[in-house]
Structure formats: structure tokens, C-alpha cells
């Protein structure tokens, strides 16, 4: 598998959360923009009415007195504009000759007055370097002395409009924000709820006994059916394979061992008594090869077995001493050379480890068997020890041992060295495999004064023993 593929992907929840918050964020931004636009329009509309009203009032106040156009600007017009209490007010009254009657001489409408017809048309503009809204009103005079059009221009700064716009937008923003939050929270809850079956499925799959290959039975939504189906299909196939392999090994064991046993039986029956010297030589070789074949067969099957069990058998708390003692009993033949001093030593306490007794026994048997065949000269000691965290099974013999440079090779399959001619080499491989499956190690202690030691180390089990 490529490392890229194995890189950790963010969780579904995080992805959905990110995308939803992104969409909500954009939505909120659009809404706030829209709110600003509408607020501005509304504020302008509201204050423009005041502006137009004031302009109309001022235009209404124009009168002709004694043949002269007179402006008596009503205070109320200014009070009307004063409703925008912070805004500056500029105005100009223009008489029929285009002369300024009163007010700010340089105030102009953005569109020339002659062309502007609609009195309600309020425009944007600048006056005294300030942005202003400008309104105007026209008064048509038909007095014999004064006739024509008089104009009133009224301008107002934008502070109140801006303040109102800001306030409206702020309120809208708060609403949008609260709504977004609610939507987000709701979405998160919904996602969480929707993802619950996935989580449940995950928990179910995770908490399963790794050796349990029965179909997963969790109620999942329809969308997850293919997924669960695949898992179950895969499990089914895996189960079949495991069964098949198991059956194969079992069959192989029986089918090979039985004739092999028959063969040794026949050799045993044959006996060597009636043979001449050459015949006896051949007989001995057949016997030797047969026993070698037996041993190799046993080791191969044993190897296959421990590998298979490592994947399929649940570890249980077992007493390391009991396992080692059984292995010791099984591994030491009664017919062993009586001159060899063989002993087994165990501590008073009972170190408990989490393990598969069958595999462990197989591992220890192989280590002892190896020592017996290739190491031991006069002495073989099997010891069980325990430290605070680990249990050790040590097999020490007084043979030449394995030189350190060959240690790495010794645990490989079928590694033979000159000093171990005839060894299948599988013994250490089996022990190593088992040690690994138990989170332990197989190691060697160089030949010291007493002898060469093979050490199987496994972590102690600290939990409750049933």
C-alpha cells in the first residue's frame, strides 16, 4: 500500500462540519450584504422623506411681498431635518432670476435644476467635501411682478442614515449570526445522529474478537448495507480460508503422520537383528532418515500451527511454569542418555502471562529439543524466572552454543550451520514466531562459564486471573 493512501484522512464529521460551516459562512455573508443594502435603502428612504418634506416646506414659504420674492424659512422645516439629530444641513433658495436668495451660495444639485423635474428625486452628492443627500423643490410663481421658477435645494449629511443603516444591519447580522449558529448546531446534531450507525458499526467491528469471523450483525441504515455486506462477504471468505487452511493443516498432519508412523512401525518390526553388517548399515540409515523425516514433518506442521494460531486463537492468562513444565515433560524423552543431568527449576511464585498454551508449549519444546539434539553434552537446565514486568524461560546447555555472529540466522527458517548439521532450523523459527505473537522475544546468551542459554521472554499479565 502506498503511504499516501495510508495518510490519515479527516473524519467524516469534520469534513461535513467544515463544508457546512463554509456554506453557512457564505450564506451569512450574502445575507449580511443584502441586509446592508436593504438597510441602506430603507434608511435613505426614511430620511429622504424628511429632506423632501423640508424642501417642500421651504418652497411653500416663498412669497411675493411688495413685488419682491421673500423667503421666510419655517423653523419647522429645520426641525424636521433636525430629526436626524447629528446631521448638518445646507440649503439654498434660488429666485426666478437664478440668483441666490438665501442660504449657501455654492450649493448645487448634481443634475442641473432646469433638467430635474421630479421633486421626489433625491440624489447623492458632495458639499464642503462631505457626502450629502440633496433634494430640491420647485415653486412656480405667477405674480405679475415676479414670475417664473424659484428653487429650494436642501442637502443633508449622511450620519443619521449611516447610523440607521448600521443599526439595522447590526440587528440583521445578529439574527443571521444566531440563525447560522442554530443551523450549524442543528446540522451538527443531525450529522452526529446520522453518523451514529457508522460509529456503532465501527465500535462493533473494533470490539470484535479478532478471531470471530461470523457476520457482523448491526442495524445500519440502507446506505451502509453495501459496506456491511462487503465486510460480511470478506469475513465469510476469510472464514472459509481460515477453515480451509485449518482443515488442510489438520488433514496434512493426519495424512502424513499416519503413514509415517506406519513406516517407523514397520522399521521397528523389521529390527536389525537378522541383518548382516552392510544390511545393518543401510537399516540404520533408513531409521535415521525416517526419524529425521518425522522430526521435520512435526516441525513443519508445528510451524504452520503456531502461525495459524497466532492469528486465530485468543490469548488467555496461563501459568508460564505450568506451560514450561509440560513442554519439559514432552520434550525430554524417557530414553534420553542417562548420563545427562537434566533439571527443571521454577520460582515459588506463579508468573502468569497472556498466551496461547499450545503455541508456547510448542515453542519451548522446540527450544529444548534443539538443545538436546545439538547442544547438550552432559547437562541441560530449564529454568523459569520472572522479573517485575517479564517472564523468562531459559534453556541452558553445556554444549558449544551458537556463535554470536550466527544468532540472527539461527532464527531464520531452515538456517543450518555446520555445527548444527542435520537441523531443520525450524525450531528457533517456531519459538521466535511464538515469542513475537506474545509480544516477547527469543534471545541468546553467549556461552559463559556454565553454558549457552536460549531465552524466551514474554511480558507478564497484570490483569485479573479468572
Amino acid at each position: 500500500m502506498h503511504p499516501e493512501v495510508a495518510r490519515k484522512q479527516p473524519s467524516l464529521f469534520a469534513r461535513l462540519a467544515r463544508r457546512i460551516s463554509f456554506v453557512l459562512g457564505i450564506g451569512a455573508a450574502l445575507l449580511v450584504t443584502a441586509a446592508w443594502y436593504y438597510a441602506e435603502t430603507a434608511a435613505n428612504k426614511a430620511y429622504d422623506r424628511l429632506l423632501v418634506g423640508a424642501a417642500l416646506q421651504m418652497a411653500e414659504s416663498l412669497s411675493v411681498e411688495d413685488g419682491i420674492l421673500t423667503a421666510r424659512l419655517p423653523t419647522s422645516a429645520f426641525e424636521l431635518l433636525g430629526l436626524a439629530d447629528r446631521d448638518r444641513i445646507f440649503y439654498r433658495v434660488i429666485d426666478t432670476h437664478g440668483q441666490t436668495l438665501t442660504g449657501y451660495d455654492d450649493l448645487k444639485t448634481p443634475t442641473p435644476l432646469e433638467r430635474a423635474q421630479d421633486v421626489l428625486n433625491v440624489e447623492e452628492g458632495f458639499y464642503k467635501e462631505e457626502p450629502v443627500r440633496i433634494a430640491h423643490a420647485t415653486r412656480v410663481l405667477a405674480d405679475p411682478a415676479v414670475s417664473g421658477r424659484a428653487y429650494v435645494i436642501v442637502a443633508q449629511t449622511n450620519e443619521a442614515r449611516l447610523a440607521l443603516t448600521r443599526e439595522l444591519t447590526l440587528r440583521a447580522t445578529i439574527l443571521v449570526f444566531v440563525m447560522s449558529l442554530l443551523a450549524f448546531a442543528g446540522a451538527m446534531l443531525a450529522i452526529r445522529y446520522a453518523l451514529q450507525p457508522v460509529e456503532r458499526l465501527g465500535t462493533e467491528v473494533r470490539s470484535r474478537d479478532p478471531h470471530d469471523l461470523t457476520p457482523v450483525s448491526v442495524d445500519v441504515p440502507r446506505e451502509l448495507d453495501p459496506f456491511v455486506g462487503s465486510i460480511n462477504h470478506f469475513m465469510g471468505r476469510l472464514n472459509e480460508r481460515v477453515d480451509l487452511l485449518q482443515r488442510f493443516i489438520a488433514d496434512a498432519a493426519h495424512q502424513i503422520r499416519t503413514p509415517l508412523t506406519a513406516l517407523t512401525a514397520q522399521i521397528d518390526l523389521l529390527g536389525a537383528g537378522r541383518l548382516d553388517k552392510a544390511g545393518r548399515q543401510h537399516f540404520d540409515r533408513v531409521k535415521e532418515r525416517t526419524s529425521e523425516l518425522s522430526r521435520l514433518t512435526n516441525q513443519l506442521l508445528s510451524h504452520a500451527m503456531v502461525i495459524h494460531r497466532a492469528d486465530s486463537v485468543q490469548l488467555e492468562p496461563v501459568s508460564l511454569v505450568d506451560v514450561a513444565r509440560r513442554a519439559y515433560r514432552a520434550a525430554i524423552p524417557i530414553t534420553v542418555d542417562p548420563d545427562i543431568v537434566i533439571s527443571f527449576e521454577a520460582p515459588d511464585e506463579r508468573p502468569i502471562i497472556l498466551g496461547d498454551a499450545v503455541s508456547l508449549r510448542e515453542a519451548i519444546v522446540n527450544v529444548i529439543d534443539n538443545a538436546l539434539r545439538h547442544g547438550t553434552d552432559q547437562r541441560l537446565e530449564v529454568r523459569v524466572r520472572a522479573s517485575a514486568m517479564q517472564g523468562f524461560v531459559e534453556v541452558e546447555d553445556d554444549g558449544p552454543g551458537i556463535p554470536p555472529e550466527s544468532w540472527a540466522r539461527a532464527t531464520q527458517r531452515f538456517a543450518t550451520s555446520k555445527s548444527h548439521e542435520g537441523s531443520s532450523g525450524l525450531g528457533f523459527a517456531i519459538a521466535q514466531e511464538v515469542a513475537k505473537a506474545h509480544g516477547g522475544t527469543l534471545s541468546f546468551n553467549a556461552r559463559g562459564r556454565k553454558g549457552f542459554t536460549v531465552v524466551l521472554t514474554v511480558p507478564l499479565y497484570k490483569g485479573e486471573v479468572k
Binding site: A250, A253, T258, T261, L269, S302, P333, E345
Partner: protein, 225 residues
Amino acid sequence: MRILLVEDTLDVGEAIARRFEATGHAVDWETNGRNASEIIDFTEYALVILDVMLPGMDGFEILKRIRKSGNIVPVLVLTARSEIDDRVGALDLGADDYLVKPFDFRELEARARVLMRRHTGGEATNLIKCGDIAVDRASRSVHVGKREVQLKRRELTLLEVLVARPGRVFSKDELLDQIFGFDEAANANAIELYIGRLRKKLEGARANIVTVRGLGYQLVPGDAP
């Protein structure tokens, strides 16, 4: 002694039967599991040699029945099975010993002998001690301190004699009689050989086999000189 052999492979069964008959045992050979199970119910045997894979009823099933009925006959299981998916082994089901096929016939014979002897020797725990040497006559095991030392049958018998009466001097002839009986021909050199082996195997024990020149041997508790 009477032995029940349950084995369906003819070659194997024949070889086993012949071997035990050669050493003076009577062997009943069954090839069908069900038949074997029935025979055990009303025949007393000194040993049952039981193959696991059998037609009719498998060896484990037979073993379970034997133990269920309270029969304590020693059972030696022969198995060609891989323990690939076994949760319980033959020993857990009440077998006294087991051998994985293919096995060495001498080993089978030796183990069978041990089982039969243990059976006739009685079950009571019978622990005798001298110094830190402990001999359990029931399980026929020897401990030197915490160390369990593997002893051969005759070595064990010799040790039993010495340990039973520490300090007493046993003559070679006395020991010869004890160990080999009267029917077996052996000479005094054999005793010297066994004494030598025993000394080696008991090395480091707080009891020593002392040679009393001209008289014989005695076991004396205390640290090695």
C-alpha cells in the same frame, strides 16, 4: 500385564502389539472406537494406549467416557492430529501421557512402563526428604532445592533406598538386590555407575552420597565438603 491398544492403522497397531507382547504383556487390540469404549467398561487393564483418530468414536471421546465413569486406568494417547484448533489438550481431558506420531517405539515402551509402574505403585503422596533432596514416590519426581532433576528409573530407585534411611550404610549387594531384584543379572560395577550418575545429578544438594570404604554407601545430609 494387560494392555488395551486402540489403533486403527494396522501397521502401527501390529508393531505396538508385537513390542508389548515381546516384553510379556497381554495386548487387546481394537480398531473401532465404539467397541473399545465398551470393552473398557467391563475389563480391567493396566494401561490403555489410545489413538485419537478412530472410526466409530474418536479417542478424546473415549477418554472422556473413561474418566467420567471414574476409571483411573493410565491412558497414553497417541495423536497424529495437529493441535491447530485445539482448545484443550489430551492431558486436560485426563490422559496420563501422550505421544505425537510418528514416535520412537522405544520411547513409547518406556513411557508405557512408567505409567504402569506408577499405577501399581499407588497414588498416595509419599514424600521423603534428606537435606534439600525431596523424592515424591507418587509422581516419581526428585527436587534438589527448587530444581526438579530428571532421574532414570534405577537412579530413582537407588535414591529412594538411600533417602529412606539417611546415614545408614548400604552395601553394594544390598543395593543390587533392591534395584535389580533377584532375577536380573547385574554386577557390582553397575552400582558404581549409578552412584556416579546420582552424584552428578545431585550436585549442589545439601546432602551427599558418601562412600564408606569396604562397606558401601550412605546418604549424609549437610553441605558438600
